[in-house]
Subunit: 254 residues, 2 copies
Protein backbone atom coordinates (compact mmCIF):
# COMPACT_ATOMS: atom_id res chain seq x y z
CA UNK A 1 0.00 0.00 0.00
CA UNK A 2 1.33 3.41 -0.91
CA UNK A 3 2.29 5.67 1.98
CA UNK A 4 -0.50 8.29 1.96
CA UNK A 5 1.90 10.87 3.35
CA UNK A 6 4.07 10.52 0.23
CA UNK A 7 1.58 10.33 -2.64
CA UNK A 8 0.53 13.61 -4.22
CA UNK A 9 -2.90 15.04 -3.40
CA UNK A 10 -5.25 15.59 -6.35
CA UNK A 11 -4.35 18.55 -8.57
CA UNK A 12 -7.93 19.69 -9.18
CA UNK A 13 -9.40 23.05 -8.30
CA UNK A 14 -11.63 23.02 -5.24
CA UNK A 15 -15.37 23.01 -5.89
CA UNK A 16 -17.31 26.24 -6.27
CA UNK A 17 -18.54 26.34 -2.65
CA UNK A 18 -15.00 25.94 -1.33
CA UNK A 19 -13.62 28.61 -3.65
CA UNK A 20 -16.50 30.90 -2.70
CA UNK A 21 -15.52 30.50 0.95
CA UNK A 22 -11.91 31.39 0.25
CA UNK A 23 -12.74 34.48 -1.82
CA UNK A 24 -15.40 35.58 0.67
CA UNK A 25 -12.83 35.49 3.44
CA UNK A 26 -10.25 37.38 1.39
CA UNK A 27 -12.71 40.05 0.22
CA UNK A 28 -14.35 40.71 3.59
CA UNK A 29 -11.18 40.78 5.71
CA UNK A 30 -10.71 44.23 7.25
CA UNK A 31 -8.22 46.11 9.39
CA UNK A 32 -10.20 46.58 12.62
CA UNK A 33 -9.49 49.57 14.82
CA UNK A 34 -12.50 51.02 16.60
CA UNK A 35 -14.95 48.12 16.63
CA UNK A 36 -13.55 45.65 19.15
CA UNK A 37 -15.78 44.08 21.80
CA UNK A 38 -14.27 43.16 25.18
CA UNK A 39 -15.52 39.55 25.02
CA UNK A 40 -12.73 37.01 25.48
CA UNK A 41 -11.56 34.94 22.52
CA UNK A 42 -12.31 31.23 23.01
CA UNK A 43 -9.14 29.09 23.17
CA UNK A 44 -10.44 26.80 20.41
CA UNK A 45 -10.71 29.72 17.99
CA UNK A 46 -7.36 31.17 19.04
CA UNK A 47 -5.66 27.78 18.64
CA UNK A 48 -6.94 27.39 15.07
CA UNK A 49 -5.93 30.92 14.16
CA UNK A 50 -2.40 30.40 15.50
CA UNK A 51 -2.05 27.09 13.67
CA UNK A 52 -3.16 28.76 10.44
CA UNK A 53 -0.27 31.17 10.94
CA UNK A 54 2.09 28.29 11.72
CA UNK A 55 1.26 26.72 8.34
CA UNK A 56 2.38 29.72 6.34
CA UNK A 57 5.15 29.26 3.80
CA UNK A 58 8.61 29.97 5.16
CA UNK A 59 11.96 30.30 3.48
CA UNK A 60 13.95 27.06 3.85
CA UNK A 61 11.06 25.76 6.03
CA UNK A 62 12.56 28.01 8.68
CA UNK A 63 9.29 28.79 10.53
CA UNK A 64 10.98 31.85 12.05
CA UNK A 65 7.88 33.12 13.87
CA UNK A 66 6.88 33.30 17.51
CA UNK A 67 3.56 34.56 18.88
CA UNK A 68 3.45 36.71 22.00
CA UNK A 69 -0.09 36.80 23.33
CA UNK A 70 -0.54 40.01 25.27
CA UNK A 71 -3.46 40.25 27.66
CA UNK A 72 -1.90 42.00 30.66
CA UNK A 73 -3.29 45.57 30.76
CA UNK A 74 0.01 46.95 32.07
CA UNK A 75 1.99 45.64 29.11
CA UNK A 76 -0.65 46.84 26.68
CA UNK A 77 -0.72 50.29 28.28
CA UNK A 78 3.06 50.45 27.79
CA UNK A 79 2.64 49.60 24.10
CA UNK A 80 -0.18 52.12 23.83
CA UNK A 81 2.16 54.78 25.19
CA UNK A 82 4.67 53.86 22.47
CA UNK A 83 1.90 54.19 19.89
CA UNK A 84 0.79 57.59 21.24
CA UNK A 85 4.34 58.95 21.06
CA UNK A 86 4.94 57.63 17.52
CA UNK A 87 1.53 58.78 16.35
CA UNK A 88 2.15 62.34 17.55
CA UNK A 89 5.44 62.33 15.63
CA UNK A 90 3.66 60.89 12.57
CA UNK A 91 0.98 63.59 12.53
CA UNK A 92 3.66 66.27 12.18
CA UNK A 93 4.98 64.61 9.02
CA UNK A 94 1.77 65.32 7.09
CA UNK A 95 1.04 68.58 5.33
CA UNK A 96 -1.24 70.92 7.27
CA UNK A 97 -4.44 70.10 5.38
CA UNK A 98 -4.09 66.33 5.88
CA UNK A 99 -2.81 66.60 9.43
CA UNK A 100 -6.21 67.25 10.98
CA UNK A 101 -7.77 64.40 9.00
CA UNK A 102 -4.92 62.16 10.16
CA UNK A 103 -5.46 63.12 13.80
CA UNK A 104 -9.14 62.25 13.46
CA UNK A 105 -8.46 58.70 12.27
CA UNK A 106 -8.78 55.82 14.74
CA UNK A 107 -5.69 53.75 13.99
CA UNK A 108 -5.48 51.10 16.71
CA UNK A 109 -7.45 49.13 19.30
CA UNK A 110 -4.61 48.18 21.66
CA UNK A 111 -6.56 48.68 24.87
CA UNK A 112 -10.08 47.88 23.64
CA UNK A 113 -9.26 44.53 22.03
CA UNK A 114 -9.12 41.71 24.58
CA UNK A 115 -5.94 40.34 23.04
CA UNK A 116 -2.87 41.71 21.28
CA UNK A 117 -0.47 39.44 19.42
CA UNK A 118 3.08 40.33 18.50
CA UNK A 119 4.38 38.15 15.65
CA UNK A 120 8.15 38.06 15.59
CA UNK A 121 10.99 36.73 13.44
CA UNK A 122 13.91 34.84 14.97
CA UNK A 123 16.57 35.64 12.43
CA UNK A 124 18.94 32.97 13.71
CA UNK A 125 16.46 30.12 13.98
CA UNK A 126 17.94 27.87 11.30
CA UNK A 127 21.58 28.90 11.61
CA UNK A 128 23.43 31.51 9.56
CA UNK A 129 22.83 29.94 6.12
CA UNK A 130 19.21 29.33 5.14
CA UNK A 131 17.95 27.89 1.83
CA UNK A 132 16.39 30.75 -0.12
CA UNK A 133 17.72 33.50 2.17
CA UNK A 134 21.25 33.53 0.83
CA UNK A 135 20.61 36.37 -1.65
CA UNK A 136 17.59 38.15 -0.15
CA UNK A 137 18.24 38.56 3.60
CA UNK A 138 14.71 39.85 4.29
CA UNK A 139 13.10 36.57 3.23
CA UNK A 140 12.72 35.42 6.85
CA UNK A 141 10.84 38.62 7.72
CA UNK A 142 8.63 38.00 4.69
CA UNK A 143 7.88 34.49 6.00
CA UNK A 144 6.61 35.96 9.26
CA UNK A 145 4.43 38.35 7.21
CA UNK A 146 2.92 35.36 5.39
CA UNK A 147 2.08 33.95 8.83
CA UNK A 148 0.36 37.22 9.70
CA UNK A 149 -1.78 37.07 6.58
CA UNK A 150 -2.80 33.44 7.25
CA UNK A 151 -3.67 34.43 10.83
CA UNK A 152 -5.72 37.39 9.56
CA UNK A 153 -7.76 35.30 7.13
CA UNK A 154 -8.40 32.51 9.65
CA UNK A 155 -9.46 35.15 12.20
CA UNK A 156 -11.95 36.62 9.70
CA UNK A 157 -13.45 33.18 9.15
CA UNK A 158 -13.73 32.79 12.94
CA UNK A 159 -15.54 36.13 13.24
CA UNK A 160 -12.53 37.86 14.79
CA UNK A 161 -11.28 41.26 13.76
CA UNK A 162 -7.56 41.97 13.42
CA UNK A 163 -5.82 45.33 13.24
CA UNK A 164 -2.12 45.75 12.42
CA UNK A 165 -0.54 48.59 14.41
CA UNK A 166 2.61 49.77 12.66
CA UNK A 167 2.99 53.23 14.19
CA UNK A 168 5.48 52.04 16.78
CA UNK A 169 9.20 52.23 17.46
CA UNK A 170 10.19 48.59 17.02
CA UNK A 171 13.29 48.84 19.23
CA UNK A 172 11.23 50.19 22.12
CA UNK A 173 8.58 47.52 21.49
CA UNK A 174 11.20 44.76 21.54
CA UNK A 175 12.48 46.08 24.88
CA UNK A 176 8.97 46.27 26.36
CA UNK A 177 8.28 42.66 25.42
CA UNK A 178 11.67 41.34 26.50
CA UNK A 179 12.62 40.02 23.06
CA UNK A 180 16.08 38.43 23.01
CA UNK A 181 18.80 39.64 20.65
CA UNK A 182 18.15 38.40 17.12
CA UNK A 183 14.38 38.24 17.53
CA UNK A 184 12.59 41.20 15.94
CA UNK A 185 8.94 42.30 15.96
CA UNK A 186 7.30 41.91 12.55
CA UNK A 187 3.67 42.73 13.31
CA UNK A 188 1.82 44.07 16.32
CA UNK A 189 -1.80 42.91 16.04
CA UNK A 190 -4.97 43.65 17.98
CA UNK A 191 -7.48 40.80 17.87
CA UNK A 192 -10.99 40.22 19.15
CA UNK A 193 -14.65 39.94 18.41
CA UNK A 194 -16.15 43.01 16.75
CA UNK A 195 -19.38 44.97 16.42
CA UNK A 196 -19.20 44.13 12.74
CA UNK A 197 -16.91 44.26 9.72
CA UNK A 198 -16.79 47.39 7.57
CA UNK A 199 -18.02 46.91 4.01
CA UNK A 200 -15.01 48.83 2.70
CA UNK A 201 -11.59 49.59 4.12
CA UNK A 202 -11.97 52.53 6.51
CA UNK A 203 -9.35 54.63 4.72
CA UNK A 204 -11.26 54.12 1.47
CA UNK A 205 -14.59 55.07 3.10
CA UNK A 206 -12.93 58.15 4.64
CA UNK A 207 -11.81 59.30 1.19
CA UNK A 208 -8.13 59.03 2.10
CA UNK A 209 -7.28 56.85 -0.93
CA UNK A 210 -9.24 54.89 -3.53
CA UNK A 211 -9.08 51.25 -4.53
CA UNK A 212 -6.87 51.25 -7.63
CA UNK A 213 -8.08 49.71 -10.91
CA UNK A 214 -6.06 46.49 -11.05
CA UNK A 215 -5.76 46.72 -14.82
CA UNK A 216 -3.35 49.64 -14.37
CA UNK A 217 -1.03 47.37 -12.39
CA UNK A 218 -0.75 44.29 -14.58
CA UNK A 219 2.15 44.15 -17.03
CA UNK A 220 3.22 41.60 -19.60
CA UNK A 221 6.79 40.32 -19.82
CA UNK A 222 8.23 43.75 -19.08
CA UNK A 223 7.24 46.73 -16.94
CA UNK A 224 4.87 49.06 -18.80
CA UNK A 225 3.75 46.54 -21.38
CA UNK A 226 -0.01 46.53 -20.76
CA UNK A 227 -2.87 45.18 -22.81
CA UNK A 228 -1.03 42.25 -24.40
CA UNK A 229 -3.82 39.93 -23.24
CA UNK A 230 -7.22 41.43 -24.03
CA UNK A 231 -9.09 38.42 -22.71
CA UNK A 232 -7.44 38.71 -19.30
CA UNK A 233 -7.92 42.49 -19.28
CA UNK A 234 -11.64 42.08 -19.90
CA UNK A 235 -11.91 39.50 -17.10
CA UNK A 236 -10.02 41.72 -14.66
CA UNK A 237 -12.24 44.72 -15.38
CA UNK A 238 -15.46 42.76 -15.09
CA UNK A 239 -14.36 40.86 -11.99
CA UNK A 240 -13.26 44.03 -10.21
CA UNK A 241 -16.56 45.73 -11.06
CA UNK A 242 -18.40 42.67 -9.71
CA UNK A 243 -16.45 42.90 -6.45
CA UNK A 244 -17.44 46.57 -6.12
CA UNK A 245 -21.13 45.77 -6.59
CA UNK A 246 -21.08 42.67 -4.41
CA UNK A 247 -21.82 40.30 -7.31
CA UNK A 248 -18.42 38.63 -7.59
CA UNK A 249 -19.09 35.62 -5.34
CA UNK A 250 -22.38 34.75 -7.01
CA UNK A 251 -21.50 35.49 -10.63
CA UNK A 252 -17.79 35.19 -11.28
CA UNK A 253 -16.56 31.86 -9.95
CA UNK A 254 -17.30 29.66 -12.98
CA UNK B 1 -32.81 53.32 3.78
CA UNK B 2 -29.35 52.77 5.17
CA UNK B 3 -26.53 52.82 2.67
CA UNK B 4 -25.51 49.16 2.47
CA UNK B 5 -21.94 50.16 1.69
CA UNK B 6 -21.70 51.95 5.06
CA UNK B 7 -23.43 49.58 7.49
CA UNK B 8 -21.27 47.00 9.18
CA UNK B 9 -21.43 43.40 7.99
CA UNK B 10 -22.41 40.78 10.57
CA UNK B 11 -19.74 40.01 13.18
CA UNK B 12 -20.40 36.27 13.35
CA UNK B 13 -17.97 33.51 12.56
CA UNK B 14 -18.51 31.83 9.21
CA UNK B 15 -20.30 28.47 9.28
CA UNK B 16 -18.35 25.24 9.65
CA UNK B 17 -18.27 24.45 5.92
CA UNK B 18 -16.85 27.87 5.12
CA UNK B 19 -14.23 27.64 7.85
CA UNK B 20 -13.35 24.13 6.70
CA UNK B 21 -12.71 25.52 3.22
CA UNK B 22 -10.43 28.24 4.53
CA UNK B 23 -8.37 25.89 6.73
CA UNK B 24 -8.21 23.26 3.99
CA UNK B 25 -6.75 25.84 1.63
CA UNK B 26 -4.23 27.05 4.21
CA UNK B 27 -3.15 23.54 5.24
CA UNK B 28 -2.80 22.09 1.73
CA UNK B 29 -1.00 25.06 0.14
CA UNK B 30 2.50 24.04 -0.98
CA UNK B 31 5.58 25.56 -2.54
CA UNK B 32 5.61 23.91 -5.98
CA UNK B 33 8.91 23.35 -7.75
CA UNK B 34 9.11 20.20 -9.82
CA UNK B 35 5.47 19.37 -10.49
CA UNK B 36 4.29 21.97 -12.99
CA UNK B 37 2.32 20.97 -16.08
CA UNK B 38 2.69 23.03 -19.26
CA UNK B 39 -1.10 23.57 -19.64
CA UNK B 40 -2.02 27.24 -19.90
CA UNK B 41 -3.78 28.97 -17.00
CA UNK B 42 -7.32 30.06 -17.94
CA UNK B 43 -7.77 33.85 -17.83
CA UNK B 44 -10.79 33.51 -15.51
CA UNK B 45 -8.69 31.70 -12.90
CA UNK B 46 -5.78 34.10 -13.30
CA UNK B 47 -8.06 37.11 -12.96
CA UNK B 48 -9.52 35.84 -9.68
CA UNK B 49 -6.09 35.02 -8.29
CA UNK B 50 -4.78 38.51 -9.12
CA UNK B 51 -7.83 40.17 -7.58
CA UNK B 52 -7.34 38.12 -4.41
CA UNK B 53 -3.85 39.61 -4.25
CA UNK B 54 -5.21 43.09 -4.92
CA UNK B 55 -7.49 42.78 -1.87
CA UNK B 56 -4.64 42.19 0.55
CA UNK B 57 -4.20 44.61 3.43
CA UNK B 58 -1.84 47.48 2.68
CA UNK B 59 -0.31 50.12 4.87
CA UNK B 60 -2.23 53.40 4.50
CA UNK B 61 -4.34 51.64 1.79
CA UNK B 62 -1.28 52.19 -0.37
CA UNK B 63 -1.76 49.11 -2.62
CA UNK B 64 1.92 49.34 -3.58
CA UNK B 65 1.95 46.18 -5.71
CA UNK B 66 2.21 45.54 -9.44
CA UNK B 67 2.05 42.17 -11.16
CA UNK B 68 4.38 41.36 -14.04
CA UNK B 69 3.08 38.32 -15.90
CA UNK B 70 6.02 36.62 -17.56
CA UNK B 71 5.30 34.17 -20.34
CA UNK B 72 7.98 35.01 -22.90
CA UNK B 73 10.53 32.14 -22.89
CA UNK B 74 13.42 34.55 -23.54
CA UNK B 75 12.70 36.62 -20.45
CA UNK B 76 12.21 33.53 -18.33
CA UNK B 77 15.47 32.02 -19.60
CA UNK B 78 17.22 35.23 -18.56
CA UNK B 79 15.72 34.89 -15.05
CA UNK B 80 16.66 31.24 -14.97
CA UNK B 81 20.26 32.21 -15.72
CA UNK B 82 20.14 34.59 -12.74
CA UNK B 83 18.81 31.76 -10.59
CA UNK B 84 21.53 29.34 -11.77
CA UNK B 85 24.27 31.84 -10.93
CA UNK B 86 22.85 32.65 -7.48
CA UNK B 87 22.17 29.00 -6.74
CA UNK B 88 25.77 28.02 -7.49
CA UNK B 89 26.92 30.76 -5.11
CA UNK B 90 24.41 29.57 -2.50
CA UNK B 91 25.60 25.94 -2.62
CA UNK B 92 29.10 27.05 -1.63
CA UNK B 93 27.75 28.68 1.54
CA UNK B 94 26.65 25.35 3.01
CA UNK B 95 28.96 23.05 4.94
CA UNK B 96 30.29 20.14 2.90
CA UNK B 97 27.86 17.52 4.21
CA UNK B 98 24.76 19.60 3.42
CA UNK B 99 26.11 20.94 0.13
CA UNK B 100 25.41 17.78 -1.85
CA UNK B 101 21.90 17.52 -0.39
CA UNK B 102 21.35 21.17 -1.31
CA UNK B 103 22.50 20.59 -4.89
CA UNK B 104 20.06 17.70 -5.19
CA UNK B 105 17.04 19.82 -4.26
CA UNK B 106 14.73 21.10 -7.00
CA UNK B 107 14.16 24.71 -5.96
CA UNK B 108 12.31 26.37 -8.87
CA UNK B 109 10.09 25.78 -11.89
CA UNK B 110 10.88 28.95 -13.87
CA UNK B 111 10.94 27.29 -17.29
CA UNK B 112 8.49 24.42 -16.69
CA UNK B 113 5.64 26.56 -15.28
CA UNK B 114 3.59 28.20 -18.04
CA UNK B 115 3.56 31.50 -16.16
CA UNK B 116 5.88 33.41 -13.83
CA UNK B 117 4.66 36.41 -11.85
CA UNK B 118 6.88 39.06 -10.32
CA UNK B 119 5.09 40.94 -7.53
CA UNK B 120 6.70 44.31 -6.91
CA UNK B 121 6.43 47.22 -4.49
CA UNK B 122 6.29 50.82 -5.73
CA UNK B 123 7.81 52.57 -2.74
CA UNK B 124 6.68 56.00 -3.89
CA UNK B 125 3.11 55.15 -4.80
CA UNK B 126 1.38 57.25 -2.16
CA UNK B 127 3.95 60.02 -1.82
CA UNK B 128 6.76 60.26 0.71
CA UNK B 129 4.60 60.12 3.88
CA UNK B 130 2.30 57.11 4.24
CA UNK B 131 -0.03 56.36 7.17
CA UNK B 132 1.52 53.52 9.11
CA UNK B 133 4.87 53.62 7.32
CA UNK B 134 6.27 56.60 9.18
CA UNK B 135 8.12 54.49 11.78
CA UNK B 136 8.58 51.14 10.01
CA UNK B 137 9.78 51.88 6.47
CA UNK B 138 9.47 48.24 5.38
CA UNK B 139 5.69 48.21 5.87
CA UNK B 140 5.05 48.75 2.15
CA UNK B 141 7.18 45.71 1.30
CA UNK B 142 5.19 43.76 3.89
CA UNK B 143 1.96 44.82 2.16
CA UNK B 144 3.19 43.32 -1.10
CA UNK B 145 4.02 40.12 0.80
CA UNK B 146 0.43 39.98 2.09
CA UNK B 147 -0.66 40.22 -1.56
CA UNK B 148 1.59 37.27 -2.37
CA UNK B 149 0.03 35.16 0.38
CA UNK B 150 -3.52 35.99 -0.79
CA UNK B 151 -2.49 35.09 -4.34
CA UNK B 152 -0.97 31.81 -3.13
CA UNK B 153 -4.09 30.73 -1.25
CA UNK B 154 -6.46 31.69 -4.09
CA UNK B 155 -4.22 29.78 -6.50
CA UNK B 156 -4.40 26.67 -4.29
CA UNK B 157 -8.19 26.87 -4.30
CA UNK B 158 -8.09 27.17 -8.11
CA UNK B 159 -5.91 24.05 -8.36
CA UNK B 160 -2.81 26.06 -9.27
CA UNK B 161 0.61 25.51 -7.75
CA UNK B 162 2.84 28.43 -6.80
CA UNK B 163 6.56 28.41 -6.03
CA UNK B 164 8.44 31.41 -4.62
CA UNK B 165 11.96 31.67 -6.08
CA UNK B 166 14.15 33.76 -3.79
CA UNK B 167 17.60 32.63 -4.91
CA UNK B 168 18.04 35.62 -7.20
CA UNK B 169 19.96 38.89 -7.29
CA UNK B 170 17.11 41.41 -7.04
CA UNK B 171 19.04 44.24 -8.71
CA UNK B 172 19.76 42.05 -11.74
CA UNK B 173 16.13 40.89 -11.78
CA UNK B 174 14.87 44.48 -11.70
CA UNK B 175 17.09 45.31 -14.66
CA UNK B 176 15.94 42.25 -16.63
CA UNK B 177 12.28 43.21 -16.14
CA UNK B 178 12.80 46.92 -16.82
CA UNK B 179 11.52 48.05 -13.42
CA UNK B 180 11.65 51.82 -12.99
CA UNK B 181 13.57 53.44 -10.12
CA UNK B 182 11.64 53.12 -6.86
CA UNK B 183 9.89 49.89 -7.86
CA UNK B 184 11.48 46.81 -6.29
CA UNK B 185 10.84 43.08 -6.76
CA UNK B 186 9.25 41.50 -3.68
CA UNK B 187 8.47 38.00 -4.91
CA UNK B 188 9.30 36.01 -8.02
CA UNK B 189 6.63 33.33 -8.41
CA UNK B 190 6.16 30.35 -10.72
CA UNK B 191 2.51 29.44 -11.26
CA UNK B 192 0.63 26.74 -13.10
CA UNK B 193 -1.37 23.55 -12.96
CA UNK B 194 0.44 20.67 -11.26
CA UNK B 195 0.67 16.89 -11.25
CA UNK B 196 -0.54 17.09 -7.67
CA UNK B 197 0.14 18.77 -4.35
CA UNK B 198 2.63 17.25 -1.94
CA UNK B 199 1.14 16.05 1.35
CA UNK B 200 3.97 17.70 3.27
CA UNK B 201 6.38 20.51 2.46
CA UNK B 202 9.16 19.04 0.32
CA UNK B 203 11.90 20.22 2.68
CA UNK B 204 10.13 18.45 5.54
CA UNK B 205 9.72 15.25 3.51
CA UNK B 206 13.40 15.41 2.53
CA UNK B 207 14.40 15.58 6.20
CA UNK B 208 15.94 19.04 5.83
CA UNK B 209 13.95 20.51 8.74
CA UNK B 210 10.95 19.45 10.83
CA UNK B 211 7.66 21.16 11.51
CA UNK B 212 8.15 22.84 14.88
CA UNK B 213 5.76 22.18 17.78
CA UNK B 214 3.80 25.42 17.93
CA UNK B 215 3.57 25.24 21.69
CA UNK B 216 7.28 26.06 21.91
CA UNK B 217 6.61 29.34 20.10
CA UNK B 218 3.68 30.80 22.00
CA UNK B 219 4.48 33.19 24.84
CA UNK B 220 2.30 35.07 27.30
CA UNK B 221 2.71 38.79 27.94
CA UNK B 222 6.50 38.55 27.75
CA UNK B 223 9.02 36.51 25.77
CA UNK B 224 9.76 33.18 27.45
CA UNK B 225 6.63 33.11 29.60
CA UNK B 226 5.04 29.85 28.39
CA UNK B 227 2.27 27.76 29.83
CA UNK B 228 0.28 30.57 31.42
CA UNK B 229 -2.85 29.29 29.66
CA UNK B 230 -3.15 25.52 30.05
CA UNK B 231 -6.44 25.37 28.21
CA UNK B 232 -4.94 27.01 25.13
CA UNK B 233 -1.80 24.85 25.38
CA UNK B 234 -3.92 21.70 25.38
CA UNK B 235 -5.88 22.91 22.35
CA UNK B 236 -2.71 23.79 20.44
CA UNK B 237 -1.15 20.38 21.09
CA UNK B 238 -4.28 18.46 20.14
CA UNK B 239 -5.00 20.60 17.08
CA UNK B 240 -1.44 20.27 15.78
CA UNK B 241 -1.54 16.50 16.29
CA UNK B 242 -4.86 16.41 14.40
CA UNK B 243 -3.30 18.33 11.51
CA UNK B 244 -0.44 15.79 11.37
CA UNK B 245 -2.85 12.85 11.20
CA UNK B 246 -5.24 14.52 8.75
CA UNK B 247 -8.11 14.70 11.30
CA UNK B 248 -8.13 18.45 11.92
CA UNK B 249 -10.73 19.44 9.34
CA UNK B 250 -13.23 16.79 10.39
CA UNK B 251 -12.72 16.89 14.16
CA UNK B 252 -11.44 20.24 15.36
CA UNK B 253 -13.63 22.99 13.90
CA UNK B 254 -16.35 23.04 16.57
Amino acid sequence: MADPTCALAAPDAFDTATREAVYRTILTRRDTRGDFLPDPVAPERLSRVLLAAHHAPSVGFMQPWDFLLLRDPGTRRQVHDLFAKANAEAALMFEAERRETYRGLKLEGILEAPLNICVTCDRGRAGPVVIGRTHIPMMDLFSSVCAVQNLWLAARAEGLGVGWVSILDNAALAAALGLPKGVVPVAYLCLGHVRGFHRRPELEAAGWRRRLPIIDHVHHDRWGNAGADMHLAERLDTDQAAIETGRFLVERLD
